[in-house]
């Protein structure tokens, strides 16, 4: 009998605000240690927190986008524990009354779309950063007080792949909404995973909390490792204990931290320095009005309006900047054959555009390609004015230099040749130049058709319409056979 995983994720996403959660210090990454600090985020005696309104708006935006209940009244609470990078000796978080409850995030699975339900989304502040060296430990409090949302899923995932898909979906969504930059290398998005295994249909097993997972790859690796560990123990007849482990990427294993019995008592209580957080109509209305079309809705529209395959729509809406760019291209599609040309645009975007972005290490938001340029290029391809190989060369010119595709084509003499005259001339010349190959072809080596095709296209400098060349070449060769 097989085992099934039961997985819930707690994702921490850094909110894209200019200043910290409870003070005016900047949140810029990579500043000199302890420079972006003030009495509040240093936890100096007498300092008090004041809530960053922008952080509340961003968290409410995420709540609305996942269909959660965004509460008009929520309560900050103190989570008490001692650690050198936690300046106040407590973290201001939300406990009993979080900002959002409920909602769901849709993921794609082998069995189709699936909703991962959310337990809650709450606001909190980040701790600082400790680094441990031989001579002692260093603390950088630049990150202390950075605004975070913690997104807690219900235990709805059943495989590492589903967990990866969920983490990717959340990552894509927070970026789409502009709620977080989702930069995982800088720690802007990280997660803890609650993992247990069971025989399908049985009640939930004893779970492990895995901490310190900061990439899509690690979430899969860590869960797979944990499943193996739990299954081996259960199959050996052991009884699992509820424990917390930390993922250790270099060794590809998890390391035991503590059991539930020895876990810290955080002594949560309502934060007396902050009154309950109240969202008024004005704030909620503004957040709702500013809510962008969500990726799912955008993808549906691409399918419905343009007849694009759902696969294309999914790829094109994985990133909001890319989706917006594509949308702008589509707006430029006038005249007949709109759907066919839209599909061509989609092919070019998913193919050449994404390839070049990746090769050049450019974010979609900084896409250098002029919208009108790609539309004109697609028109030229669609109208068979240029061949596909030529189109790729035009694309490269557009990418690096810009300009008008037609002018590029004309200036370089790249217009596609479809006239029988010049093509027949080339076919005759190629056949005349290769008597040995011709003899073998006529002797039955039909594969050599490709050889003649290539030579003819080359002689025409790639500008010839391949369909016409094929026709004319076939005709010429069959004349010789008869």
């Amino acid at each position: 009998m097989t085992w099934e995983a039961v997985i819930g994720l707690e994702i921490h996403a850094q909110l894209k605000t200019a200043s910290k959660m409870f003070c005016g210090c900047a949140t810029t990454y990579g500043a000199e240690p302890n420079r972006q600090t003030c009495p509040v985020c240093l936890g100096l005696p007498g300092s008090l927190p004041a809530v960053n309104r922008r952080a509340v708006e961003l968290a409410a935006t995420l709540g609305l986008a996942v269909g959660a209940d965004v509460h008009r009244r929520s309560v900050f609470a103190r989570k008490n524990y001692f650690y050198p990078d936690l300046p106040k000796g407590y973290q201001i978080s939300q406990s009993e009354h979080p900002l959002c409850t409920g909602g769901a995030v849709s993921i794609a699975t082998d069995a189709g779309a699936k909703d991962v339900r959310l337990e809650r989304i709450h606001l909190e502040e980040d701790a600082g950063k400790s680094s441990h060296a031989a001579g002692g430990s260093l603390v950088d409090l630049n990150r202390a007080g950075t605004p975070l949302v913690e997104i807690v899923s219900r235990p709805d995932m059943r495989s590492p792949d589903e967990a990866i898909a969920y983490m990717k979906a959340v990552h894509g969504l927070v970026r789409w909404l502009g709620v977080s930059d989702g930069n995982m290398e800088e720690g802007s998005l990280r997660c803890d995973a609650n993992v247990s295994v069971r025989r399908p249909g049985e009640p939930f097993g004893v779970r492990t909390e895995l901490k310190n997972i900061n990439s899509f790859r690690y979430v899969g690796q860590a869960i797979r490792y944990e499943m193996k560990r739990q299954i081996a123990a259960l199959e050996a007849g052991e009884v699992l204990r509820q424990e917390t482990r930390t993922w250790d990427p270099p060794s590809g294993t998890s390391v035991f931290l503590r059991t539930k019995e020895t876990s810290e008592d955080y002594r949560y209580f309502p934060e007396p320095d902050l009154p309950p957080l109240r969202l008024d109509d004005a704030l909620l209305d503004a957040v709702e009005a500013a809510l962008p079309e969500l990726p799912g809705a955008r993808a549906d529209r691409l399918v419905d309006d343009l007849g694009l395959p759902p696969y294309d729509a999914g790829v094109l809406t994985a990133d909001r900047a890319l989706a917006d760019w594509f949308e702008a291209c589509v707006t430029g599609l006038q005249g007949p054959d709109r759907e066919a040309r839209a599909k061509l645009l989609s092919n070019w975007t998913m193919g050449e555009v994404l390839r070049r972005l990746k090769e050049d290490g450019i974010e979609p938001a900084d896409l250098p390609l002029d919208v009108a340029g790609l539309v004109r290029l697609v028109d030229l391809v669609h109208g068979k004015a240029i061949s596909h190989p030529i189109a790729k060369q035009v694309f490269d010119v557009l990418w690096t230099e810009g300009g008008d595709p037609e002018a590029i084509v004309d200036a370089r003499g790249w217009r596609q040749v479809s006239d029988a005259g010049p093509i027949d001339d080339a076919v005759r010349a190629v056949i005349a130049d290769h008597p040995a190959e011709l003899e073998r072809y006529l002797g039955g080596k039909k594969k050599l058709f490709g050889f003649f095709m290539g030579r003819t296209m080359g002689r025409l400098e790639g500008k010839a319409n391949p369909k016409v060349v094929t026709e004319r070449l076939r005709a010429a060769l069959s004349d010789l056979e008869s």
């Binding site: 007498g46 008090l48 004041a50 001692f82 050198p84 106040k88 407590y90 002594r267």
Partner: protein
């Protein structure tokens, strides 16, 4: 030494801020009461000169202009040591001014120094200061009350006309009463707590101590009001208290005497109370505050719970006292630094508060205390439907001998039995001197008003003061 007389002399050119300040500095350094922990001669004289120059140029910042004031040592003062009465913060210099201190400076007041206090404001006798006790100005064998004992004594012994204290469960009012000066606990949220080193955040309020009601009102007017740095500070603009104190009127007031507060009062105390309320226009009626008996226990659970969290930042890592033995672990540094840095009362309350918040006990202690607090607040709301003010003695006794209650924390906690309920309810209460006992030790009358009714409260206090 009262504020109005000083102000008149200053503006008539009969004295200067420099002269007043020099006199205050000399007295602060000379006093044997232990009222001051830090005296800032250089800073004070510089501020006095600025104030004098301002007055000469016609730039008058109001009643506090050029007046020497003392500040309790749990309020941050930029560039000047702030110890909170604790070894832990010995030598710690805040990089910023508390909002109330900044407001004092903006009003032209001259900060002459920082006053002694019970460590982290935990105490009712000023015997819990790590820097030694404060002694009563009338009888040095007695306590001045606490925790703002230094501020009360600084005013009572005439060193300064005004001082800032802080009140969590009675820490302004009780020492004001025991020392024979005026002390106000404002409505919770009326005065910014930014820069006040927290004891119990939901209860702490900064309050004025003064030699008379008008002085307290003038200081209150300067410190009251909204502050973007304190989210618990109310945004409503404060009413002008000095005007109310100077023209208190004569209209009839219904003054409630809680029956629960009268049990166990000595006959002397009772007659002091009755005499104090014999004010023209006051109609004294009994009121019922049925949850009074839970107030002290409720207070010690809630205040200690918050304190246990507020004092977690004193871990020896970033500032303050660090004890790090050779080869010490992180845990050792925490334990040793906190054990050496905190006195016994602070340690007792941290342990009490940590216990009250711990898993399995939270509901039984913090949860229940939180509900009791709301019941106590509801008692006041109901009582104020019938009366304008609620009156009691501020303290059930006059100043007691040093050491009399140190061995018995519960007896000490009962010193605040009349001041704790209005603190839990977040209401404004003022203590006004109303005579002395046979030994010449002062009694104080406490008046409590509905939330944000400081102006009428000052007016009523002025009537009590005037009828003596």
């Amino acid at each position: 030494m009262n504020l109005r007389a000083l102000g008149a002399d200053l503006r008539a050119g009969a004295t200067t801020s420099r002269a007043l300040t020099l006199r205050a500095l000399d007295a602060a350094e000379a006093t044997t009461t232990g009222a001051f922990l830090t005296v800032d001669r250089e800073g004070a004289l510089a501020a006095a000169d600025v104030a004098d120059a301002g007055l000469a140029q016609g730039a008058d910042h109001g009643p506090l202009h050029g007046v020497p004031v003392a500040v309790k040592d749990n309020l941050c003062t930029e560039g000047l040591q702030t110890t909170c009465g604790s070894r832990f913060l010995e030598g710690w210099i805040a990089p910023y001014d508390a909002t109330v201190v900044a407001k004092l400076r903006a009003a032209g007041a001259v900060v002459v120094g920082k006053t002694n206090m019970d460590e982290f404001a935990m105490g009712s006798s000023n015997e819990n200061s790590a820097y030694g006790p404060v002694r009563h100005p009338v009888d040095p064998t007695r306590v001045p009350g606490g925790s703002s004992g230094g501020s009360a004594v600084a005013v009572a012994s005439g060193i300064v006309p005004l001082a800032l204290g802080s009140d969590t469960g009675g820490s302004v009012r009780q020492p004001a009463a025991l020392c024979g000066v005026v002390g106000l606990r404002p409505t919770y949220g009326r005065v910014s707590r930014s820069g006040l080193i927290a004891f119990a955040s939901s209860l702490d309020q900064v309050g004025p101590v003064a030699s008379d009601v008008a002085g307290a009102a003038a200081l209150y007017d300067v410190i009251a009001g909204p502050d973007p740095l304190d989210s618990t500070a109310s945004e409503r603009p404060p009413a002008h208290a000095l005007e109310a104190a100077l023209a208190p009127g004569t209209e009839p007031l219904r003054v409630g005497l809680p029956t629960q507060y009268l049990d166990g009062l000595t006959s002397e105390a009772r007659s002091v109370l009755d005499a104090a309320l014999a004010v023209p226009g006051f109609e004294v009626v009994p009121v019922d505050l049925p949850h009074t008996e839970y107030a002290v226990a409720t207070y010690y659970v809630l205040a200690s719970a918050e304190a246990s969290s507020n004092l977690a930042r004193f871990d020896g890592i970033r500032y303050g006292n660090r004890v790090q033995a050779e080869g010490a672990s992180l845990q050792d540094v925490y334990l040793d630094s906190r054990t050496a840095g905190f006195g016994p009362e602070v340690q007792r309350r941290i342990m009490l508060g940590t216990f009250a918040l711990s898993a399995g006990f939270f509901e039984a202690y913090f949860g229940k205390a939180d509900r009791a607090r709301r019941a106590i607040a509801a008692d006041f709301t109901a009582a104020f439907e019938d009366v304008d003010l609620i009156a009691s003695l501020t303290s059930p006794t006059t100043a007691f001998p040093l050491g009399a209650r140190t061995a018995d924390p519960l007896a000490m906690y009962l010193s605040d039995i009349f001041t704790i309920p209005s603190a839990l309810a977040g209401l404004p209460s003022i203590s006004v001197p109303v005579g002395e006992d046979d030994a010449g030790l002062p009694w104080g009358l406490q008046l409590t008003a509905p939330a944000f009714a400081e102006a009428p409260l000052f007016a009523a206090a002025a009537r009590v003061e005037a009828s003596r």
